[in-house]
Structure formats: C-alpha cells, structure tokens
Amino acid sequence: MKMKLATLALGAVMAAGPALADLVFPSMSYRTGPYAAGGIPFADGYADYFTLLNERDGGIGGEKIDMPECETAYNTEKGVECYEATKDLGSLVYQPLSTGITYQLIPKVTADGIPMLTSGLGRTSAKNGAVFPWLFNFPANYWDGASVAIKHILDEEGGDVNDKKITLVYHNSAYGKEPIRTLEELSKKHGFDLSLVPVDHPGQEQKSQWLQIRRDRPDYVIMYGWGVMNQVAIQEAVNIRFPMDKFIGIWWSGSENDVRPAGAAADGYKALTFHNLGDDYPLYDDLKTFVYDKGLAAGAGDQHGTALYNRGLYGAMLVAEAAKTAQEIHGVSAITPAMMRDGMEALEMTEEKMAALGLPAFGPEFQVTCENHGGNGFAAIGQWDAAASEWKMITDYIQSDQEIVQPLIEADSMAYAEENGITPSCD
C-alpha cells in the first residue's frame, strides 16, 4: 500500500507532459516485441509525413502538428495506458495498428468522441458508419482482402476454382479470425474447399502447421499473419517446397522484413496491398529535402520506401487530408476531434488530389460517406522479386466481391447495434 505514495509522486511528472500543440496526432507505435518488425516501419512513415508537413507547410492549414508517440508493444494493456495518457492532449484521431487494441478502444473512443482510423485492420463492420460513427476503416478491410485474394486466384485459374483446395493460415486472434466468415461464404459461392490452420501468438513455431499443409497439398495458401509469424511461415513454406506464387499474404504479411529472411527462395511470394509500393514518387523528393537531409527522420531512418513505411505515410496522408477537409467544412484551423470526425466522413480521395500531394496513383479513389466508412474495397496484388529485392505490383486495383462482403458487414454491424442498444442513424 505504501507503494501508492511513490505513484503519487508520478503526478508531477505526468503534469509536465508534452506541450499542447494545436493539432495532436498521437502515434500508438510498437517498436519493441514480436511485432516490432511491422510496427517500426509504419511508425517511421507516420512520423515522417507529419514532420514533412511541419517543415514544408508549417503544419496543416497553418496549425503545427504535434505527434506524441506511445509504445504499446502490440499489448492491449499498454494500449489502454497509451490511450488514457494521450486522449486529454486534444488527440484528433487514433491509428492503433492493432486489431486487439482497436477492439479495446471502440467503446472508449465512442464514449470520448475521438475518431479512430483502422486502415485495413480492426473491426470490419465498422465500415457501417450509421452504427460506428467514430470509426473509419477506409480504403479496405480484412473481408475485402479475403475476397480480393480469391478473385486473384479465380483469375489465375481461369475463373474456375471448383474443388480446388485453399488453406487459410492465420494468427489465432481477433485479427486472424476476421476473414474466416467471408472465406466460408466465398467457398460456398465458388465451390472451393477451405481449410483453416491457426497459428498461436507469436508464431515462432509452425512446424506442425506446415506439416499439415504438406499433407493436405492445398492448391493455394492464404495467410493472415503479422510480425514474426510471417517470416517463419514463409520460411516453412520454402522448406516444404510450397510454390511461392500460390502463397498469398494479406497486406500485413507483405513487407520486406517478411520475405528477406527466406532469401532467394521467397521469390514469387504474393501479398495484397491497398496502396502503392516503392519510393518512386515526388513526395519522396520532398521527404529527402525537408526531413531526411535535415536529420529529422524518425527511428533509424532505414525503412524509407518499404511497404510498411509507405503504409505509414499513406495513413498519415489520409488523416492529414481529413484534417484539411475538416478545416474547410468548419472554417477554423484549430479543429476539435468532433470536427475531425466530420472531416473524415467527408473525405474524398481522388486521383488529382493524390497527384497534387506528390503521390500519384498511390491508392484507390474513394469517397467516405456516413453509410460507407470503409471505402470501396479495392486492393492490388504485389509480388516479391528476390533478385531485385523489391515488391512489384502485378495487378491493378481489384474490387472485392461486394455481393458477399456487404451483406456480412450489414449483418455484423446490426448485431453489434442490437447488443449495445445503438440506433443506427445517418443524419
């Protein structure tokens, strides 16, 4: 009990937190733990984009950006601590980059009135803005990912996957379980056999799973993995000589860190993505001038141009654009979280807008509305070229099977609304 006294002394430290800036975009990053390989590049990209806006444009609409970073280690308890520590700083939007933490925060952000963006992760049915007014998951979600992967397989197989065997290797958590229902629906529609192979956190040991896959001899393997699980899975797939071009990862299983450990054998591995890859964009010139050359790059500065670094840039770009939209709607530059939400709900990403930002054709076009907080479900397939050591986009953006995904979203969000006594409304 005496220990409490020590913690009271902490109050003084807490009060002297970071100075209040005008626009606060907290970064819930994880640079430690088994998921750091994914967390670091994203956090670096997220930070560098805001640094660029501060250095080049003086912030957004003349308001400087403050980005308090908080380490979650992909752990829900630390995530809660981070959320509580930053929410009173005037935080405009959260991007936790963890489905577990997202689930944790859904009721909290709704009660506190702070928007949350979970691009390509989190609760898929959050796409229904009538039920989840504070949640956004544009431009694509897990169910889109599953559907696009199946569409790609259909293309490869000439439109017929009847009696083909498809195996889902997934992280045995809320994240990995998300696509199961969609894949089951799709298997009914297209007639393929689906088998499920869970991998427990953190996934460093997958011998038995891949032995099972070797015995089953599936035609395709789809993977929903994250962190250290990805590289282990790809190495195991190489070990059982599973053809790499039949192995498709979700966007969280498609970073350089995942394929490099397997060396040349990983050549041909495919992964989905909802934004473009590589560093051949005018924005990178600005980043070099205003951020890297000034020594302001976040982290070790060795992630530039990687898939997840780009995703961090993309995530920061989306919320910066939403903040601009909010400033236009409300006519003030110092926006509140509630105004930020309006901006996100009115966000429109067009080709011209992305080109003007120095990211031409970087992601799909979409228009957020109250009914649709999740974009149009476009994703593309990238393929790893081990010789050149880079990801190559091998398809255009493909839209997910809205016939399958949309009714599932409707059903799941309505079930949530009923459980929690929410009356869906869009006014």
Partner: protein, 358 residues
C-alpha cells in the same frame, strides 16, 4: 519511539490477536483505507484509474490468490493465466446469459467456477510435487487457453473470437462498458481487493492456513499430525483459484472491457503473477500488494519519467524499462531473498528499536 508495543496494553484475546497489534500499524492501515475509499475517488481521473490503480488492484487480487497456493501451501502453479481466463469467460457467459443479475454476483460466481476448475487441475498435486506439479499446471494454462480459443460457445460465436463486456450497473452506476466514471470502476475494484485481502488474511492465520503451511513445510510430517493432504491441497487450489478467477473477471469486465484469450491470458500472465508473488514475498498478503505494485507501477513510472519527463525515444525507453526492472528484481532478491515483504518486516523490526538500537 512511536512504533512499539510498549504501553499498548491488550485486555482481551480478540484485541491481542488482531491483524495489526501495534497501534501505529493499525492507524496506518486505517489511514490507507480512508484515503483509498474517501479521498482517492474524488481526485482520480481516467488515466490514474485505467493505467495505474485498476491494474494494481486487480493484479493484487491475482497475487493474493496465487500466494495462497504457492506461498502458503507450497504448490507451485503456472496456470494463473488460464485460471484468470476461466474467471473472465465465466463472467462473460454469466453476464450475457443473465443480464438482469447484478455484475457483483457474476464476478463472485465467476470466482466460484474458477475454484471448481482449479480443484480439477489441482488433483495431480496429490501425487506430484515441485517442478512436476508446475508442469502439470502448465498443462492447465495451455489447455484452458486452447479451449477458449477453440470452442465458439465460450465467446458466443462472435466472428472475431473476442469477448466484450456489455454495460452493467451497480446501484444505477455503470461499472462496465464504455461510459463508466473513473471513480466508479475504481471503487468497484477496491471493494473486491480489500475484501479479498481481509478474507485471505483471516483464512491464512486460522486453522485452514496452518494446515496449508504444515503441508508446505513438510507434507509427511503434516500428515502424521493429522492434516489431510487431500483436503488441504485441494482447498488451497480452490481458494487460490477463486481469487484468481475474481481477478480475471475484473480484468476482463471492468479493466479492459474486451479481451482475446491468447493475448490477455497467455503464459506471460502466469509468469507475471508468479513473479509478483516471488518478488513481493511468498506467504505474505502485504507481499502480494508490494509485488503487484512493483511489477505494475514501476514500468508505468519509468515510461513516464523516460518518455514524458526526459523526452527519450519510446523504443529506447521500452528497452531500458526491461533492463531497469530486471536489474531491480535481481538487486532486490539478492538484498532480500524473501521478497519485499521481508524487507518491510526487517524495517519494522528496526523501527521498533529506533532510536535506541542498543
């Protein structure tokens, strides 16, 4: 000078055998209770509750529970995470199945369910001891996590496999769900923590506790003097699991609101609680609090000092945190192998003589 028995006369057995026989200790205890119940709720905010007090209170209950098993009865258990999961899932199933019953009773019932499961997994303790028992309880840990992941009935067939606590109230005040007030959740957990500590303290110094300690010290000798090892060991498993289950239920329903079993109740949780008990002091209720405080509050304190205070990068701070906490654990255990509680005991012993030690 102030801290001594001299002059503090007891005229009845009840007075003589109270928990805090020294006047100063007793007043300090009342003072802490008054502060905790009457002062803290008025000054507390969301951060203090969710990042500091609630984890501290909940882990304290878990540590008290495990301390009964490991510290008092000498049965090593690595299944704490699994038993906390039983409490959490039990509470969830009860909350969703009987929405009209008060959450207070659900949490106690969840403790009861965990006690039953604990007895079941305690059965091997009748034949095996020490490291072998640790392995058997490790099996409980993995089996229970696997079970809650595998059987959809436990998570009400939700697509993600997550369980989320619906809104529940006590006397019309919300204690679970999104719209809770800081003071309400704090007081709710505090009531459970204080009650657990009082019950545990009185159990362990009564006949039952003496039986447990006899088993711990030498089971054959205990059997010879008439302690039934079956009853003693299984009751220790039951009581321990009951507290652990309550902490698991609070951990899920009040603290986090949504959990998935692998992440929240994995083997790491078992080790964390075991370390709390070892660092705090085996066989001491105060030690359970001290251990929980050490392992829950120190990382938060370090994080705030290093990141918010000194402005260091978060990853560097996170790594340093591990090193500092690790180094402190080793330092404390070298200085006092019996944990923080023993350190406290030695300090009190010295205080009694102060300022004339010779």
């Amino acid at each position: 000078m102030f801290y001594r028995e001299a002059g503090d006369f007891k005229t009845s057995y009840v007075e003589d055998s109270q928990t805090f026989p020294i006047k100063f200790d007793r007043y300090r205890y009342y003072f802490v209770l008054v502060c905790a119940f009457a002062v803290v709720p008025f000054v507390i905010n969301d951060y203090w509750v969710n990042a500091i007090f609630m984890p501290f209170l909940i882990y304290s209950i878990a540590a008290i529970g495990l301390n009964i098993l490991v510290g008092y009865c000498g049965q090593v258990s690595l299944g704490t995470g699994g038993f906390m999961a039983v409490g959490a899932y039990g509470c969830y199933k009860l909350m969703t199945a009987f929405p009209d019953v008060s959450i207070f009773f659900h949490i106690i019932a969840a403790g009861g369910i965990t006690a039953l499961v604990g007895v079941l997994f305690g059965l091997p303790s009748l034949r095996i001891k020490g490291f072998y028992l640790a392995v058997a309880t490790l099996a409980a840990q993995f089996f229970l996590v696997w079970l809650f992941n595998r059987v959809p009935w436990f998570y009400n067939y939700s697509a993600s496999g997550q369980i989320s606590a619906p809104e529940r109230t006590i006397f019309g005040i919300e204690v679970t769900g999104a719209n809770t007030e800081a003071w309400a959740t704090y007081l709710f957990c505090l009531v459970f923590t204080v009650a657990s500590a009082i019950v545990a303290r009185n159990l362990t110094r009564g006949a039952q506790g003496r039986k447990w300690m006899a088993i711990r010290d030498m089971d054959i000798a205990a059997e010879i003097i008439g302690v039934d090892p079956l009853k003693a060991k299984l009751s220790a498993f039951a009581v321990s699991s009951f507290f652990v289950g309550i902490s698991g239920a609070l951990f899920f329903a009040v603290y986090l609101g949504a959990v998935e079993v692998g992440e929240a109740f994995g083997i790491n949780k078992s080790f964390l609680v075991l370390f709390m008990v070892i660092i705090g002091g085996l066989g001491s209720i105060f030690g359970s609090f001290a251990g929980a405080a050490f392992l829950v509050l120190l990382p938060v304190l370090l994080k705030n000092v290093l990141v918010a205070g000194l402005g260091w990068p978060t990853d560097l701070a996170a790594h340093l945190e591990f090193m500092i906490v690790g180094a402190l654990i080793i330092a404390f255990l070298i200085a006092e192998p019996h944990g923080l509680a023993q350190l406290w005991r030695v300090m009190k012993e010295k205080l009694r003589l102060w300022p004339f030690p010779h």
